[in-house]
């Protein structure tokens, strides 16, 4: 940790630690979106087969 007059200003992290931090932040952001989506959910659902048909995708050929 770096800083001046006991005030932390920067941190040097191991890349693996930084990567883990990214994963954690990503999960928090995703969780926020899940909460938002839950709150505004219309209840409408589309099956995978119907969704693929809408986009002209043949699931059997993937």
């Amino acid at each position: 940790m770096f800083g001046d007059r006991r005030k932390p200003e920067a941190v040097l992290l191991a890349f693996e630690t930084f990567r883990m931090l990214l994963e954690a932040v990503e999960d928090v952001v995703i969780a926020q979106r899940v909460r938002e989506r839950d709150g505004a959910d219309s209840g409408e659902r589309t099956s995978l087969a119907d969704a693929a048909a809408e986009f002209g995708i043949d699931l059997d050929s993937l």
Binding site: L22, V28, V29, A31, V34, E44, R45, T46, L48, L62
Partner: protein, 141 residues
């Protein structure tokens, strides 16, 4: 998360929001759209398992939710967010996660701060309600 196979393409459903996001993919990149469906097909037939979201106190327990990485040109650019419904999956979100390293300060400074309070209040309310029930006292809220 364990997928119990019911039949071809009967184990995955998409929310209206997730479907709307896929329509945007259709306009931007058919390759990404095909990759998303390839992964959803694998999820449907049980050959792909989502990575569970980590449980953080300030977001509440979302360990029934998971994410699937969508690689574009070998790089992780999107996440398919799914909820385990007990043998089947509901796709609730397809998140673009572009250049995550550069986004980190923004995420930490903005989105985490913005999303914190309501969820924390919600969690606190649930805890208070649980304590009240345990004490057999009427809930005044």
């Amino acid at each position: 998360m364990t997928a119990r196979r019911r039949g071809p393409y009967q184990n995955v459903v998409l929310t209206a929001d997730a479907l709307a996001e896929l329509r945007q993919f259709e306009e931007r990149s058919l390759d990404v759209l095909a990759q998303v469906f390839r992964l959803l097909e694998q999820l449907d037939n049980g050959t792909l398992q989502p990575t569970r979201l980590q449980n953080f106190a300030n977001t509440g327990d979302l360990t029934d939710c998971g994410k699937i990485v969508v690689l574009v040109d070998g790089e992780p650019e999107h996440r398919i967010v799914v909820r385990d419904l007990g043998g089947s999956f509901q796709v609730s979100d397809v998140v673009a996660v572009d250049n995550r390293t550069n986004d980190l300060p923004c995420l930490l400074a903005g989105r985490l701060e913005r999303q914190g309070d309501p969820i924390r209040r919600s969690d606190a309310s649930r805890r208070i309600a649980r304590i009240r029930r345990a004490l057999d006292q009427p809930d005044e809220t």
